[in-house]
């Protein structure tokens, strides 16, 4: 379902989802044609979680995220060109090339360093929430992580403290392990079912939502943010999606092709291969269908919006590829803050 939002905000939400999707596709295409970026992970299939969640954060709020961070950073308003530049190790990247895809940081947008150690962000986000509370601000911290984090001890230590001290943190677990390719990469292995039982044991309100249902995500996050700002403590949301077929351990592959939004209004176009993905698992197509069905937007407006986003991504790719690499000697600088 659609979130209950005024027209302009709804369209803006959609624009952000399109940005997340087209960015990742542009990145994959760029790497296929030779641009080397190292080991990266894409947000394809999770846009309906990230966009409605991030759209509700204010300027003072912060987020922490993991190696699967591109969508989150863009959802906070980061410049796609500078994000891509960072992924490609250029001097114009947000981190000056120091962090790469795994650690994109945009301090002024409240995106604090992303961690590539599974479990690493949970205590950090808990600390950021603590800082907000100490200062008497009503800022919150939103912590994005995958289902694998519930295998790490750091998670339990951190949520325990958050619960005891009523910290304003929203633990947003993006469980994309359904459909994970068995044997190719270990899927989530956790004895607890459902995952929401785990934070519930620490008396943290926990809700599982369909990660492709933007309205459901929006509502759950809204409640969690209200709780946090009111000083009532942490919340846990598990947003479930089916893992995008093109997500491989090292190099994502456009197995489902560049997203054809027309699948939303011309279902006959949907091919046999990955038919389930296009028909029911891809949240972006779902949202597109729902938008159309609601009468809030017409197909040609969708295509125009998408066209503008794609043009912007092409510009971002051009910018990043044209950007210089940092001076080699800069590798030695920036260890300590002066």
């Amino acid at each position: 379902m659609l979130p209950d939002l005024p027209q302009a905000e709804l369209i803006e939400l959609y624009r952000i989802m399109l940005t997340m999707r087209r960015f990742e596709e542009a990145l994959i295409v760029a790497t296929e044609s030779g641009t080397s970026v190292g080991h990266f992970h894409v947000y394809i299939g999770q846009e309906c979680t990230g966009a409605p969640a991030l759209s509700q954060l204010g300027r003072e709020d912060t987020i922490f995220t993991t190696h699967r961070n591109h969508g989150h950073v863009l959802g906070r308003g980061a410049d796609p060109g500078r994000v891509l530049a960072e992924i490609m190790g250029r001097a114009t990247g947000y981190n000056g090339g120091k962090g790469g895809t795994l650690h994109v940081t945009a301090r002024e947008l409240g995106v604090l360093p992303t961690s590539a150690v599974v479990g690493g962000v949970v205590p950090l986000a808990t600390g950021a929430a603590f800082a907000a509370k100490q200062r008497g601000s009503d800022a919150v911290c939103m912590c994005f992580f995958g289902d694998g984090v519930l295998e790490e001890g750091a998670f339990y230590e951190a949520i325990n403290i958050a619960s005891l001290w009523s910290l304003p943190v929203i633990y947003l677990c993006e469980n994309n392990s359904e459909g994970a390719i068995a044997g190719e990469f270990p899927g989530s292995t956790i004895a607890a079912r459902p995952l929401t039982d785990l934070p519930a044991a620490f008396r943290i309100p926990a809700q599982a939502v369909d990660g492709t249902d933007a309205g459901e995500v929006y509502g759950a996050v809204k409640k969690a943010i209200q709780r946090a700002r009111a000083g009532e403590g942490p919340s846990f949301i598990e947003a479930r999606t089916v893992r995008w077929p093109g997500s491989r351990p090292l190099w994502p592959d456009l197995l489902t092709g560049e997203t054809d939004l027309a699948f939303a209004w011309e279902p006959a176009r949907i091919p046999q291969s990955h038919g389930d993905w296009h028909r029911s698992q891809d949240g972006l197509l779902r949202f597109t269908r729902e938008l159309l069905q609601s009468g809030r937007i017409a197909a040609d407006e969708i295509l125009a919006l998408d066209g503008a986003v794609r043009a912007k991504m092409q510009e971002a790719v051009r910018f990043a590829i044209a950007s210089p690499y940092p001076e080699a000697e800069s590798a030695l600088a920036g260890v300590f803050a002066r």
């Binding site: 090339g97 150690v117 479990g119 694998g148 295998e151 940092p326 590798a331």
Partner: protein, 323 residues
């Protein structure tokens, strides 16, 4: 003798080890990482399905489990995978495995192996590029092996698997394609035996792991310039073959130590200190270290290239040393 790849030699060793001793099990199975060679592990998985486990992402949990199992008589080999993840398991490795035999007055040996892939991998960034062996060296109770050739990886893995002590098997994904002669069947390389991989009398280059290959390339380059370098591959730092190391220093009087760890308190620091203490009067020049500098590993390719210890840097240091 046949020539096979490092990756093949490693898997062959694992197979022979598991065939020979059914107390051996593998906790984690990405011994060839996510490299194209990883398919070689499938044969092992098919052969020993009940003895190869893929645990959840819980380093403290599965390393601790392996330590406990070893205390109870098994011989687990743990795949920590990317070396940067070993920090999560420090309490189990450093405080438990390393101490147990000593703390219990000899009652409880811990025959566990911890395998990891260390070092620069090309775009790994600061949290995926660690070389933790120097910190582990500062921890009494751990044996540490660092193979650098196909012959060595098989021989050292055999010894690690037979050892009664906790062993850290420090490996490097960039060695997987190195080819070399490897005997068929069983053989092992005792710990504490360095290998002079190239003889020379002008300068000693001390190295471990991937840096041995770097040192050999540097030595070939130096030979063209009329400088004969001796390359000493330590193979294990615990136990350390001081005799071979010091004999080489006595012969050449000039030393370059090349190591992928960060400079301060890295493996090269300890080697340098040992030589400065025990072979001081043989030194004709200061010992030079070629290491990664004291910076976290940057992601951008030219920055990573800049900080990487290379054959060129070793050559430059060696030329300084022989001036």
């Amino acid at each position: 003798m046949r020539e096979i790849s490092y990756a093949e030699a490693k898997v062959e060793a694992l197979r022979e080890i598991m065939e020979a001793d059914d107390r051996v099990c593998l906790v984690g199975s990405y011994f060839l990482g996510l490299s194209p060679r990883r398919v070689l592990m499938n044969a092992l998985r098919e052969r020993f399905p009940a003895r190869i486990f893929d645990p959840p992402i819980s380093e403290t949990g599965f390393c601790g489990l392996a330590v406990g199992a070893a205390m109870a008589g098994m011989r687990p080999i743990v795949d920590v995978a990317t070396a940067s993840f070993i920090f999560n398991a420090f309490p189990q490795i450093v405080n438990e495995a390393a101490n147990a035999h000593y703390m219990t007055g000899g009652q409880v040996p811990v025959p566990v192996g911890f395998h990891l892939l260390h070092g620069l991998r090309g775009g790994g960034g600061a949290q995926h590029s660690h070389s933790p062996q120097a910190m582990l060296w500062n921890t009494p109770g751990l044996e540490i092996a660092l193979p650098a050739s196909p012959y060595d990886v098989k021989g050292l893995l055999k010894t690690a698997a037979r050892s009664a002590n906790p062993t850290i098997f420090v490996d490097h994904a960039r060695l997987f394609e190195v080819k070399g002669p490897v005997p068929e069947g069983d053989y092992d390389i005792p710990f504490g035996r360095a290998d002079v991989k190239r003889s020379g009398s002008d300068v000693t280059i001390v190295a471990t792991s991937l840096m041995v290959q770097v040192a050999l390339r540097a030595a070939a380059d130096l030979a063209e310039k009329g400088i004969e370098a001796e390359v000493v591959d330590l193979r294990t730092i615990v136990p350390l073959d001081r005799a071979t190391l010091l004999a080489s220093v006595a012969k050449t009087g000039r030393v370059v130590v090349v190591d992928e760890c960060h400079r301060s308190c890295g493996v090269a620091a300890e080697i340098s200190a040992i030589i400065a203490e025990e072979a001081f009067h043989h030194l004709k020049a200061p010992i030079r270290r070629v290491t990664t500098p004291d910076v976290p590993i940057p992601a951008s390719p030219p920055l990573e290239k800049f900080i990487e210890p290379t054959a060129e840097k070793v050559v430059a240091a060696a030329r300084e040393a022989v001036k």
